[in-house]
Each structure stands twice: as C-alpha cells, then as structure tokens.
Amino acid sequence: MNPIPLVVAEMRRNPLGCTAVVALIALTTACGVVVSAQERALRAASTHAAERFDLIVGAAGSPTQLVLTTVYLQPAQLDLLRADTLRQLADEPGVKSLAPVALADSYRGYAVVGTTASFAGAPGLADGRIFNHPDEAVVGADAQLRLGETFHPIHGTAAENVIENHQHAYGLTVVGRLERSGTPWDHAILVPIEALWTMHGGDANSGRAPAIVVKPRTVADAYELRTKYRAGGTVALFPAEVLLPLYSLLGDVRAMLGGMAVAFEVLLIFAVLLVIVAVLAGRKHGIGVLRALGAPPAFVVSTVWLEGALLIGLGIATGTLLGVALLQGTSAYVSSRTGLSVGASLGAPEFGLLAALFVGGSLLAGLPSLPLLWKPIAGLLRS
C-alpha cells in the first residue's frame, strides 16, 4: 500500500496549519536542545580552564573567591600570602613547579596578571617571545595590544577604574602574544610578578602574592600539600572542590530547565494529537469513503499516522537545525560574558531527547484514527 500521495494531498490542503504545528514543535525542540547543550559546554569549558591549576594556595579566606579570581580572573580583593609561604613552598620536595598569580591592575579593560614566565607561556607563543625583564609583558590571544606597544597599567581592576583612575608611572612593553587557550586568560595581559611588586609598595609587598599555583609531583604529594597548607593562615584547594558544587547547582538548574523542556514537549505532542483529532473530524468523511472503497484498516490508519509523524519529524528536524544555529549565538554570548571559549554542540544527551520525542510522538500519532475503523461506514459517509 502507499498512502503517501493522499497524505501529501491532505497537507497541501492545509499548509498554514501544518506550518504552524511544525513551527511550534521546532521552537520548543530548539529551546530544549540549546539549554541542554549549552550547559554541558559551559561545564566542559570551565573544567578545561581549571586544568592548569592543580593546587591553589592562598591566604585564608573564601575558597570560591580564590578560584574565581585565580582561574577565571574575576576581580576581587584577596589577602596576600606572606612572602615566606612562597619560599617555603618552593622548598617542598613534593612541588614540581609553582607560580605566584596576582591580579592587581588593568589596562583598557584587560586584567593585568603578574606571574612567572613559564606559567604565563604555558599556552605557547603565537608571536614574539616571552617576557624576561620586569618591564616586558605578553598578551593573551584576545587582548588587542600590538607587539612593541608600551603601556601604563592602571591601578586596580577594570571595574574599579570607573571610579578611581590612577595610572602607574611604570611602563611595560608588549613582547609577545600567546596562543588561544579558550580561557579567560586569553583576555589578560601577563607581566612578570616582579613588575607588580615594584609598582605596588616596593619591598613591603615583595615576594607576596594572593595566590600560588602549585604543580605537585604526584597525586599523593598533592593531597599532602593540600593538607599541610590548610593551616597557619593559608588555604589550599583543588579547583574542582569549588567547581563541583557550582556544577551541581548549575546541573540542578539545567535539570529543572530540561524537565520543563521535556514537559513542554510532551504537552506539545498532546497538542499535536489534539490537532490530529480536530483534523480527523474534518476527515471522517474521507475515511468513510476510503473504507467504502475497501481500503484496508492499515491504509486508513497510515494516512493519518503518516501525516502526524511527518509533522512531528519535520518539526524536530527543523528544531534541531534551529537549535544548532541558536547555539552559535548563545555560545558567543556565554563566551563573551565568561571569557571561556564555549563551543557548544549537540551530543548524545540531546540526540537521545530528540529520538525519544520523535518515537513517542509518532507512535501516538496514529491513535486518534483508530476509533474511526469501527464506526459504521454509512454514518461516516453522511458526516
């Protein structure tokens, strides 16, 4: 049997209604897909950004703020570690390498971060060389400074500058540009930490930093160091300790949004079924004619089922494309807001949702026509 020509004819008779149903399914599908994929991508990107930061040691205070400032360069006033903490850590046998990280100043909205040459140069150089003198700087991939440009950092962070505009006399020259790392550090200007020490209070603050990023030799060393530096006015933590609770919060929000999306989709499927029921009222007569002509029940049902399944399938397919397009936009937005490069794309969870929707919807699409198989034909012909 071949109900396709009849289905096409029916859809041609009501192009506006069909378009509306497809558009409705497409929009909700797109929303559900975007929420799901965007959250996954954000989570992956923030984990990626934290990868280089095995263990962070800071002055006692908020662990969350320590991670946000050190890893994601969110400006905040952090207490400084004592200078001997840096020396003491450097002497630890379990420390493979370490780098003080200080976010203190800004220039044209870019964070000026003081650290070591090897930590700064870790993403690799796209152009120029790494700084090897206290009046040199390298810039992240997205910091719009030219090589050779000399600049004077402004005291305080970008947000504070609106109120207090106090330029340092100290000049730094850009000598290199880093490869893109997909993290907020792409928007930073990296300078030798000694430069910050010179700019900020000279000897009193020398050797002091708000945070030290430690690369331990082994996992055992990592836990040992973490325990040891959690006492005596310092705090030591793995970024994941802060990120996981955040993720679970993010995950809860996502689960709620995702749940709403699914509930919405289910409602939609029922709306589509209602549409089919309503459409069937107008097709009772045609179904009566088909049955009078001797059409087998499977043919009669498939003319209705195929139309429903086509509309649902078309809606889901359009919604998927729309979702992919929307993801470009939302990813760009989230990237610009967080400094993380969030390349969201559809993955297994989204395709699972789409498949479940299509299977569920199309299984149900034929149901409303079943009663018409038992109604007396003569009655259907009169309707």
């Binding site: 071949n2 045609g286 001797g294």
Partner: protein, 228 residues
C-alpha cells in the same frame, strides 16, 4: 460471475421502522438494473446493503458465491476493493490529488508502486471520460468530477458497479453525459451495474427497473411486501 441476489428484508435503523422490505431481488451477471423511488424510500440504504457497508437485521445479500453478511469485515473490505466499483451522488473524490491520482487510489490500497499497465488503464479511462489527468479534482467542474468518479469505479475492472444517484447533483445535460458513460462503459466491461435514482429519465434507459414504494415510516408490520 454473480447471480442470485436476494434481499429479503433490510433494516438499518435501530427503531422498528421498516426501511426496506424486499422479498426477493435478483440480477444476472452483466445486467443493468435501476432501482427507483422517491426520496426517503430507502434507496441509499438498499445500495449500502448491496455494497456491504450497511448490514440488514434480517435477510441475505449474496453476490455470486459471496454472502456479505457471513464474511468478516476484513474479507468484506477485500471483496469491495476487488469486486466493486462505487459511484456516489457527491462524487467523494479526494481534493488535493489530481484526477489521475484519484483514479489510481484504489491500486494504492494494495501496492506501493503502480505498474505501467494500471497507470495506462487509468489514463485511458480519463481520456474516455474526457478529463485532463493532471488537473487537481477541486478545480474540475461537477460533471468532470463525476466522470472522474466513474473512471475510479471502473479502473480495477470490477464485476459490479453500484451508483447512488450518479446524476442527482448535476444539471440535466451533464447528467445525461455521465449516465451515457456509465451505461456504455459498464456494458463494454461486462460489469453488472446497479443504479439507484429518483430520476425517471435515467431509470428509463435501463433494461430493468425496480421500484421502491413511498416511505411508510411507522408501520411496524413484519411482513408487508411492497413489491410484487
């Protein structure tokens, strides 16, 4: 072929109203019969009973060896699509489909693809009834629509063609054309043709007529023969 049509009694309604009370009616295979009577006399009900889409409370309809009341609904469906061609007063075509696709529709019940022989047959029939094959049926005139319906009824070369007031919703001249085609083409194909009509001029063109009496709504007598 078919013979031995018996309609002894037919009552499609729940109420004890007698719609039809026909002791016997036989038609030879290949014959042409007009059933006539005023509106309300149960013509359409009788045709539905003959087509097996309405079932009498009592009595028997037999076409050849097939007794309609005794077979399962699925078998009745198959019997209709293999043996029967139907023409309705209101055409009952499917808008959105071309004339050709409407005529080909009965083939689609069984097969996915339509072979060229059947397609040619449908095209030939449309040529016979002078309707452009590719035009959508909703853009045809009423006379053309009914001619498409005649082509659809004949496309599977059915043994029996049943027509319910085939000319009633057409103007006189158009009705004559449709009646001509129906009679001539059924004769050519040796199909038994039964038409119900209140149109005396149409009925006169048949070699046999069978008249239903005026309705007798509330008489409940079990056995009140109206036909000689």
């Amino acid at each position: 072929m078919l013979r031995d049509l018996h309609v002894e009694f037919a009552d499609a309604n729940r109420a004890p109203r007698i719609v039809l009370d026909i002791p016997a009616l036989e038609i030879a295979g290949g014959g042409q019969l007009a059933i006539c009577g005023p509106s309300g006399s149960g013509k359409t009900t009788l045709l539905n009973v003959l087509a097996g889409i309405e079932h009498p409370r009592r009595g028997m309809v037999r076409w050849g060896g097939v007794e309609l009341g005794a077979i399962r609904p699925r078998a009745a469906d198959r019997w209709r699509r293999e043996t029967l061609g139907l023409v309705f007063q209101q055409f009952h075509l499917f808008p959105g489909l071309s004339a050709l696709d409407n005529v080909l529709l009965p083939f689609r019940f069984d097969r996915f693809a339509i072979d060229s022989a059947n397609r040619d047959r449908a095209s030939d029939l449309l040529e016979r009834v002078s309707v452009p094959a590719t035009r959508r049926v909703e853009r045809l005139s009423r006379g053309e629509m009914q001619r498409v319906a005649v082509a659809r009824a004949l496309v599977k070369a059915p043994a029996v063609v049943l027509a319910d007031e085939p000319t009633a919703s057409l103007d006189r001249d158009t009705g004559v054309v449709v009646a001509d085609l129906l009679l001539r083409m059924c004769r050519e194909q040796h199909a038994t043709l039964v038409v119900v009509t209140h149109d005396a001029t149409l009925a006169d063109r048949f070699d046999r007529q069978f008249a239903l009496a005026t309705p007798r709504p509330w008489r409940t007598a079990a056995n009140a023969p109206v036909m000689p």
